[in-house]
Amino acid sequence: MSPADPPPTPYSERPEWADVVPVAQYEKANPLAPILYTDEYKDATDYLRAIVKSGEKSERVLALTEHVIRLNPAHYSAWQYRYETVLALDWPLDVEMTLMDELADLHLKTYQVWHHRRLLVLRLGLPAAAPELVYIAKILAKDEKNYHTWAHRQWVLSYHNDDALWDGELDFVDVMMNRDVRNNSAWHHRFFVVFQSGVRDGEEDRERVVRRELVYVKQQISLAPNNASAWNYLRGVLEFNKRPFAIVEPFVKLYTVPRAEDSRDIVDVDNPPPGSGAELPCVAALEFLADIHEAEGRIDDAAALWKSLGEEHDTIRKKYWEYRTLQAKNSKATA
């Protein structure tokens, strides 16, 4: 409905609603910070309260709840009552899903539109899962970091845990990553798919998987070296698989120097160098190298890097770099 459309006839003037006595929101209290509702909203919610009170479940209740939801998609009680009505009427779930396709698209940031979809997908079972992934991809194409949408995708995948569903996920991550390598939601999704929800078909050789992921994340770092998401992923892969950070030291060191050495002729997949536009040294690489030093007991080397971070490269976190230094020196002293 566009703003130019005239408001619909109030329920209070519709003969088919004449049997319902509207229920005001506040009967006694005189509210503080009252919301100055439009007449349309007030009228619709007065009738919704009346329906909830009477417990009626009918097609006109579906129309009424849809109306309230369109005016305020965060009205969780309207969503709950609608869901109960859908079940009571044995309402066709595909019809409801079509309406949800429209509403989710309109109200991307609302918890309730995604949760209602989840309830429907739950009832529709596995056949609804693959189309759901297609729909989610469509939404993520225009709102790349939508938290609810990504979490919903992860739920669809892990709830069904069906090999055919998981199959396309790494390709999907690539599509999102090619669009924006700094999209942290896409990085999180990759970690979720590769490491956190069991082992996918064909990925039983974990050694190979870890190697593949290291090659992947290093490639992405070489494209845009100051990308915190990619460095966090690198840390995550190593920590989750209990590998020492030191195994990537030659790679990390390429990003800790002020300017890249000219090595364009040599292709080293294990140690891809920073691109020509890279702004070096990279704060994340300095931090990473300090962690390697600390783990190997070279506290003075680590402290020198922390000092340069605190005083020059990452001054906002000076206190944190000091803390890391004192903590490392202290634990060495008591070791």
Partner: protein, 461 residues
């Protein structure tokens, strides 16, 4: 702080993407709000107070209909913002607030987002915390009108086999709801081992590889419906709001924690500090990696630092050694955060906001002010205060006493107040777990635990 000349943009590495271009646009806007070194920034307390008074008395424009299901929140944000600004309310306004909140209580327990709405964990927190501010014991005072028995049944009806809770019937699970439930159960003296069984393990499972926490996790069960320890993947990436809720929940659960439950504290601290923006972002906080700074994370992330001491992260433990000794041993940059709130967070017409040029709203007004408060004051668990409360305790020992002591032993550490822009910018300290003042926390818990709270040595906050 830093002058414009030393403000480097976040590096783009000659590889622009959507993230880097929105970041660059934000940096350009924020640069216009860098504080003038010759003119200390002022907190416009009067303008913000008028903004809040307008909301209370004149009402909220129709666009606030989107928060029709969050009416107790609208009140809580307003009332707690007044508390942080050191403003008291007259008895008539308090009574109107109490009556309105009680109209949202469901006959089956819990509070809804408005009168005759289904009860929900989020407005239940907002309603009970609002009552902590404006309510009192006795007839019509709000506190004794809360049906605690039904509240407990309502909570138990939402409990899931993996230790989590639905936020409301037929609704989603997430750690915001768990935080809200645990705060209310703690304040009202209805928290029990039965209620929180498995909840700590659920919280722990929401920590992601980045160190922060996500909205929820997905349980996997065996064929015979036994919950598996693994896999238990987080749903969604590490996020400031969820991380605050998870960490505060963890702290509230400490008296009930099985020794086997752990979270990765080192990764958590790293993630929290990484959320603080660099000088060109004026030191504000963001809520996720590679997202933009937003005033509300001044509290959700900035405020989370106030909970670290409770989980054993204590930077001052290494004090007195090395050349970097300093009175301020906080892990966040307290001064920079205050500058973000003062220079970018304040709307010129009153109220606070996400960032310029956005408009002010009640949500951002509270969380910017609460974040400012967290950056000014260091409120930490005090062994001395704990002992005073223990000496004054008059019931049996056990978990109830432990919950009470853990919650109320927070005190502002002497001599650590840091106020950017001068003493006139001082706001009240707020309890790092509840986001209520210490005075309001003391009063409502004293009532429900039937204890006399010994007076505090320092000035009342």
């Amino acid at each position: 702080m830093t002058t414009t000349s030393t403000m480097r943009p976040v590096p783009v590495d000659a590889f622009p993407t959507l993230t880097s271009s929105t970041q660059a646009e934000t940096e350009k806007i924020l640069l216009e709000h860098v504080s003038d070194p010759n003119k200390p920034p002022t907190l416009h307390k009067n303008l913000h107070m008028q903004f809040l008074v307008r909301a209370l008395s004149q009402g909220l424009p129709a666009r606030y209909s989107s928060q029709d299901a969050s009416q107790p929140w609208l009140l809580y944000w307003t009332l707690q913002a007044f508390s942080v600004l050191q403003v008291g309310l007259d008895p008539g306004t308090k009574q109107k607030a109490i009556d309105m909140l009680l109209a949202c209580q469901d006959t089956e327990g819990g509070f809804g987002g408005g009168p005759k709405q289904t009860p929900h964990l989020l407005p239940t927190y907002a309603a009970v915390c609002s009552l902590a501010i404006v309510g009192r014991p006795g007839e019509g005072g709000g506190w004794d009108d809360i049906d605690r028995g039904k509240m407990y049944k309502f909570f138990m009806s939402l409990k899931q086999p993996d230790g989590s809770f639905l936020v409301s019937k037929h609704s989603e699970v997430d750690v915001r709801g768990i935080y809200c439930l645990l705060v209310v159960a703690t304040l009202l003296d209805i928290i029990t081992p039965e209620l929180v069984e498995g909840t700590a393990a659920f919280i722990a499972s929401c920590q992601t590889y980045e160190g922060g926490f996500s909205s929820a996790s997905q349980p996997y069960y065996t064929a015979s419906s036994t919950l598996l320890d693994s896999p238990r993947p987080p749903l969604g990436e590490a996020h400031g709001g969820y991380t605050f809720c998870a960490l505060a929940s963890w702290v509230l659960l400490r008296p009930f924690l099985p020794s086997t439950s752990t979270i990765d504290k080192k990764a958590l601290v790293r993630w929290l500090v990484q959320m603080q923006g660099i000088p060109i972002e004026l030191g504000g906080f963001k809520g996720r990696t590679n997202k933009l700074v937003d005033g509300c994370y001044s509290w959700w992330v900035g405020g989370a630092f106030g909970l670290l001491e409770s989980i054993g992260v204590d930077p001052s433990a290494f004090g007195g050694e090395g050349d970097w000794e300093d009175v301020d041993d906080s892990l966040l940059n307290r001064r920079a955060l205050q500058e973000y709130v003062l220079c970018a967070g304040q709307h010129p017409a009153g109220g606070l906001r996400d960032k310029p040029p956005k408009s002010a709203d009640l949500y951002h007004t509270l969380y910017c002010l609460a974040g400012l408060s967290a950056a000014q004051h260091k409120v930490i668990p005090s062994p001395m205060r704990r002992q005073q409360l223990l000496d004054a305790w008059t019931s049996d020992g056990g978990l109830r006493r432990e919950v009470f002591l853990e919650a109320l032993c927070f005190t502002e550490e002497e001599g650590t107040e840091t106020i950017v822009g001068g003493a006139a910018n001082r706001v009240n300290a707020t309890h790092p777990i509840f986001n209520l003042t210490v005075t309001h926390s003391d009063a409502i818990m004293g009532h429900f635990y039937k204890q006399t709270i010994p007076p505090r040595a320092t000035r009342p906050v």
